[in-house]
């Protein structure tokens, strides 16, 4: 994993009004770096309305993304942790992981690695409770471990 997360693309906030605003805040770093356009943000919100909240993959965790290529300039991810859970169409979410894919293939390796970190309960707890630098370390550690495999 080549430094997927940095000081710039992780945000930790205490609370927020609704999930739409959470998506907007989570996407902000990617918009600023021009990795995505506003269209992608709109598409993510639309996709929840169209397909339902299945992107809440487990308690408190949502993988937010939309159609690859549309409004995406570059493969990118960003992370928002909200301390107070927000309702996403009936499901509670604290962690919003934004995934922007330019096509349907290039993200696979990175997403697998990120998912591998998230699927470990200890890591998941650390993302919920930890600081920004702890979260960055968590994913960098995985990068080194990845070399062994």
């Amino acid at each position: 994993m080549q430094n997927v997360f940095s000081e710039e693309n992780i945000k930790i906030i205490s609370q927020i009004d609704n999930w739409q605003k959470a998506v907007e805040i989570a996407c902000q770093p990617l918009l600023e770096e021009k990795k995505i356009t506003q269209k992608y943000v709109t598409n993510i919100i639309k996709s929840v309305k169209k397909y339902g909240p299945y992107m809440v993959l487990t308690d408190y965790f949502a993988l937010m993304h939309a159609k690859p290529g549309e409004g995406v300039n570059q493969l990118a991810m960003s992370l928002l942790v909200v301390k107070e859970p927000i309702d996403l169409e009936g499901k509670k979410v604290k962690i919003f992981l934004i995934l922007a894919c330019p096509d349907s293939k290039s993200h696979i390796k990175t997403l697998k690695e990120v998912a591998g970190v998230l699927m470990d309960q200890c890591n998941f707890e650390l993302i919920l409770k930890g600081t920004k630098s702890q979260i960055i370390d968590l994913f960098q550690k995985k990068e080194m471990d990845g070399g062994k495999k």
């Binding site: 159609k67 349907s104 997403l111």
Partner: protein, 95 residues
């Protein structure tokens, strides 16, 4: 057997569902390959078993000839295992 993990776009959520299903398959010692794809591709792709969300299940069941199971939490291995065990029990009854 072939298992298809399905989500709206076939790139994110379904890939994690695939990863969960691969773990479940291994633990249950089932000989299966798991692929992930988007809804419209899935509708035209034959498989022995489909895994998707409750919302997409209603769209998928009409187009495919194999059982479709809805999974509430795509990262919940135990839930996916339940689906696979149920599928296995029913397949054995039919044999």
């Amino acid at each position: 057997m072939k298992i298809l993990a399905v989500c709206g776009f076939g790139v994110g959520s379904s890939m994690l569902l695939k990863m969960t299903a691969e773990k479940a398959v291994k633990e249950l010692d089932i000989n299966a390959e798991v692929e992930n794809t988007d809804l419209s591709t899935a509708q035209a792709t034959p498989a022995d078993l489909y895994l998707t969300s409750a919302e997409l299940k209603t769209e998928l069941v009409h187009s495919v000839n194999a059982p479709v199971y809805s999974v509430k939490k795509f990262m919940d291995k135990e839930e996916v295992k339940q689906c696979l065990m149920d599928f296995r029990t029913k397949s054995n009854q039919n044999d």
